[in-house]
C-alpha cells in the first residue's frame, strides 16, 4: 500500500491519467442507456439545437454579428468615454453609463477593465457600477437574441429593466459612498478624450438605423394585432427596401465599388426569384456578400474582422448552451434529464420565494455570453414563471462568482457585497412585480 503511494507520488501525471480513465469508464459503464428519459433527452437536445439553427441563426444572429462588428469599428468609443471622465458631471455620467453598454461592451471580458477605469480614474463609483451592471444585458446582441428567442415582451422588459436598474443601483452606490467619492482626485484623463471621428454623426446614425431596421423587419413575427399583421404581410418588401438603401449608402459614403454592389444585388435578387418561399437564402447571401465586400475593401477590413471575431467567440458558446439546455430541460412540453417537477418546485409560478431563488441562482451562476437565453427558455418550458425568468435574466449576466472575485479586488469586499445584495434585491422585486401584474 505504502509502496503504491510512493509510486503515485513519483508519477503524479500517470496517476491522474489512471483516475481520469477510471472515472470515465465508470460513467460510461453506468450510463442509463436503456432508460427512456435518458435517450429522449439526447434526442431532445439535438431537436432543440436543430430548431435554433433553423429559426434563429440566419435572420437574427447573422445580421446581429454584422451590426456588433460595425459598432466596434465605426462608433468612436472616445465620443462616449468623454462623458465618463473625471471632469464629467455626476448625473450625466450616470445616465450615459447606464446606456453606454449598448455601444461599448459586447464582450464580457472588456467590461471589467472599463469598469475599473471609470471607477479609479473616471467619473467614479456610481457611473462605474451603472456601466458594469447594464453592459452585458443591453448590448445589441443580448437584446436581439433575448427578444427573438424569449419573445419581444421579455426582451424589452429585460432591456428596460437593466437600464432602470443601472440608474438606481449606480445612484444608491454613489450616495452610500459619497464621502469617499468626494475625496478622489483625478490623475489623468487619458482614455477619456474624444478621438478622431471619420464619418459625420448623421451618416453613422442612418447607417446603424438601416441595419437595425433590416434586423427588426426580417424578424417581424405574426401577432394578434391588426397593424402588427399588416406590417407582417409586407415585412420582406420593407426589408428589401431598407437593404437597397443600405447598399446605396455604402456605395455613396463608404466608397464601395458600385459594380461589386450591383453584382451582389443581382445574385440576391436572382436567388429570391429562382427559389421563392425561402427568404433565408437571399438574406444569408446578402449578409455574407456585404461582409465579403467589406473584407475586400482595405479601409473596411476591420468591420469584417470584428464581425468574424464575434462570430467565432459567440457562436460555439451559444450552440453548446442550447445543446446543454435541451439535454437537461428538453423543449417546451417535452422532458429532458431534469424532471419538470423539480423546476416547478424551485422556480415554478410567480411566488416571491421562487423569484428570490431565481435571482440568487442568477447572481452566482456563470453564464458565458448569451447562454443565459436558451437556459431560461428551457426553464420556462419546464414550468418556470415569467417573473422568476426576468429575475434570472436581470441578475444573471451582470454577476457571477468569478466576476464578483475580480470586482472585489477593484472596489473592495464591502462595496462588492453591497452591490451584489442590491442586484439580488432589485432583481427579485422587479421580477415579482412583472410576474404578478
Amino acid at each position: 500500500m505504502i509502496k503504491l503511494l510512493t509510486l503515485y507520488k513519483e508519477n503524479p501525471r500517470q496517476g491522474h491519467l489512471l483516475l481520469l480513465i477510471l472515472v470515465g469508464f465508470l460513467v460510461i459503464y453506468f450510463l442509463p442507456v436503456n432508460s427512456e428519459r435518458f435517450s429522449n433527452a439526447w434526442l431532445e437536445s439535438i431537436r432543440l439545437t436543430n430548431w435554433y439553427a433553423r429559426e434563429h441563426v440566419i435572420l437574427c444572429l447573422l445580421p446581429a454579428f454584422a451590426i456588433a462588428g460595425a459598432m466596434a469599428v465605426y462608433i468612436s468609443q472616445g465620443a462616449v468615454m468623454r462623458y465618463l471622465g473625471p471632469k464629467a458631471s455626476k448625473p450625466i455620467a450616470l445616465s450615459v453609463a447606464s446606456v453606454s453598454g449598448t455601444l461599448l461592451a459586447v464582450c464580457s471580458c472588456t467590461v471589467l477593465p472599463l469598469f475599473g477605469g471609470i471607477y479609479k480614474r473616471g467619473a467614479g463609483l456610481g457611473a462605474a457600477i451603472a456601466f458594469l451592471y447594464s453592459g452585458p444585458a443591453i448590448n445589441i446582441m443580448a437584446v436581439v437574441v433575448t427578444a427573438k428567442v424569449l419573445g419581444a415582451e421579455l426582451g424589452f422588459a429585460r432591456a428596460g429593466g437593466a437600464i432602470l436598474f443601472a440608474l438606481v443601483i449606480g445612484a444608491i452606490m454613489h450616495v452610500l459612498y459619497r464621502k469617499e467619492e468626494a475625496g478622489r482626485s483625478s490623475v489623468s484623463d487619458r482614455g477619456f478624450s474624444a478621438d478622431e471621428q471619420e464619418k459625420p454623426l448623421s451618416i453613422t446614425v442612418i447607417f446603424f438605423s438601416l441595419m437595425i431596421g433590416i434586423l427588426v423587419f426580417a424578424n417581424w413575427a405574426a401577432a394578434d394585432s391588426k397593424t402588427w399583421m399588416a406590417i407582417y404581410q409586407w415585412k420582406w418588401q420593407i426589408t428589401s427596401l431598407l437593404a437597397i438603401a443600405l447598399g446605396v449608402l455604402l456605395v455613396l459614403r463608404w466608397q464601395w465599388s458600385i459594380f461589386h454592389m450591383l453584382i451582389l444585388a443581382a445574385i440576391v435578387g436572382l436567388s429570391a426569384l429562382l427559389i421563392p418561399g425561402v427568404p433565408q437564402l437571399p438574406f444569408a447571401i446578402g449578409v455574407l456578400g456585404v461582409m465579403s465586400l467589406a473584407a475586400l475593401n482595405t479601409q473596411d477590413q476591420e468591420w469584417a474582422a470584428q464581425t468574424w471575431d464575434f462570430t467565432k467567440q459567440i457562436m460555439p458558446l451559444l450552440l453548446a448552451g442550447v445543446f446543454i439546455a435541451g439535454l437537461l430541460l428538453g423543449r417546451p412540453g417535452y422532458h429532458g434529464l431534469i424532471p419538470d417537477e423539480w423546476v416547478n418546485i424551485a422556480v415554478g409560478g410567480n411566488s416571491l420565494l421562487s423569484t428570490l431563488l431565481a435571482s440568487i441562482l442568477g447572481a452566482f451562476m456563470y453564464f458565458s455570453t448569451l447562454t443565459e437565453v436558451p437556459i431560461v427558455k428551457g426553464l420556462l418550458g419546464a414550468g418556470m414563471g415569467k417573473g422568476p425568468a426576468l429575475a434570472l435574466l436581470l441578475a444573471g449576466p451582470a454577476l457571477s462568482l468569478p466576476n464578483m472575485l475580480v470586482i472585489r479586488t477593484i472596489i473592495g469586499t464591502q462595496k462588492t457585497l453591497v452591490y451584489c445584495a442590491l442586484v439580488v434585491v432589485m432583481a427579485t422585486t422587479t421580477g415579482f412585480i412583472y410576474g404578478n401584474f
Partner: protein, 76 residues
C-alpha cells in the same frame, strides 16, 4: 524592444501576442514580451479597453488587435 500586452488572456490577446512576435521576427528585432493579465495592473497602466499593446512602455493600441503590418510600422 519590449512589448507589453495587456488583457485578461482572451483570444484577442493571444492573437496580438503572435502578431507582435511575428512583426519583430520579420524585422529581425530582439524583443521581450511581458503579459499583464491582472485587471488592477491593467487599470493602473491607464488602459481602459483590452487587448492593448505597449512598445517600450508607450501604449500604441487599445481595444483592438493590431495587424502584423501595423506593428511593423510602429517598430520602424
Amino acid at each position: 524592444m519590449k512589448f507589453t500586452i495587456y488583457g485578461s488572456g482572451c483570444n484577442k490577446c493571444q492573437t496580438l501576442i503572435t502578431n507582435a512576435e511575428e512583426a519583430a521576427k520579420a524585422l529581425g528585432v530582439n524583443y521581450d514580451i511581458e503579459k499583464i493579465t491582472n485587471t488592477n495592473s491593467i487599470i493602473e497602466a491607464g488602459i481602459m479597453r483590452t487587448p492593448a499593446l505597449a512598445i517600450d512602455d508607450d501604449i500604441v493600441i487599445e481595444g483592438k488587435v493590431a495587424s502584423v503590418n501595423k506593428i511593423k510600422d510602429w517598430l520602424t
